[in-house]
Symmetry: C2
Subunit: 184 residues, 2 copies
């Protein structure tokens, strides 16, 4: 079953905000910390500066052969050494969503190599994708990343590689929230 | 932008219930009428027997060539002569959702001919698909159909053809709600 997530930005949380950068489009307000809560029941978040809701759902583009490669090398969230994190909410344009499945897939992988690029940074950069478009929020996707201090520049390279793709020409809003696990 | 829908089943509504049949899995309770409400803001539905929420969203399997064929012949909802309607909520199994995109697509079209079968019944049977899996409700899809009295048996044929497919072997819950526009 799909699992809901809520990111709660405010004064307190497990993940301390290092910086919030509006990469494209409207920014998000400043906050001191972010809490990531997965589950079907959400407590209210009084005093939150902003909240972002999403859902862990099925894959939309990945094919069998790619999944086999991913599963062979990727690692899950929560590794002890991964004290750095990032939350990157993205919204794509109406033009993207109007494309049929085969054309979105062709841009995503054949021409932008999205999965192939991500593979190069595994297992160092762990990620979890949440969908939010059908939920009606301001973003289509919320991607959460975790990595060790030593992989910070690799993470910056990954973001740069993706932002250079044809796929990213359809991104009309992107905010980069860089985080560090509290106590690290 | 995705558009939300709420189907409200109760004592009153534009669409009078002819019958509610549990095709597979758990039934839905009996109700006298159904109201279909599209929009981003929903009034509460006190006294509703049940409500089903969904969202009109982008296409998940249809490719460019198929869309061209569909757009050439399909007609929108709301035709004056279409006094018959149906709402068919469906849930697919965990095994379906665990398949990668290419394998779901192969079952959907190459082996089950879902779009091709639907095309045979256009423009007589108008349909609108709503997604509900990511919203967390009891169904994955809510499909709404409209057609004229004379096309009732064609509609039954369409349902039979789809239920005979490999794709339908992944359907673990299906309820068929047959409706008639009030005053017709």
């Amino acid at each position: 079953m799909p699992v809901r997530v809520r990111f709660i930005a405010g004064d307190a949380g497990d993940l301390l905000v290092e910086r919030i950068t509006a990469v494209r489009g409207e920014p998000l307000p400043e906050a001191r910390a972010v809490q990531r809560v997965e589950g079907s029941e959400f407590a209210a978040a009084p005093g939150a500066v902003f909240t972002l809701d999403g859902v862990r759902s099925h894959e939309r583009y990945v094919e069998r052969a790619e999944r086999v490669q991913l599963v062979a090398v990727q690692e899950d969230l929560g590794r002890v050494g991964s004290r750095c994190a990032a939350l990157i909410p993205i919204r794509k344009s109406a033009a993207w969503w109007a494309l049929p499945q085969d054309e979105r897939r062709a841009i995503f992988e054949a021409r932008s190599h999205h999965t192939e690029v991500g593979l190069r940074y595994l297992p160092a950069i762990a990620r979890r994708l949440y969908h939010s478009r059908d939920l009606g929020g301001p973003f289509d996707f919320l991607t959460f990343f975790e990595f060790g201090e030593a992989d910070t520049s690799a993470f910056d390279d990954l973001l740069g590689a993706l932002r250079d793709t044809e796929e990213w020409s359809y991104v009309e809003r992107e905010v980069e929230i860089r985080l560090r696990r509290a106590g690290a």
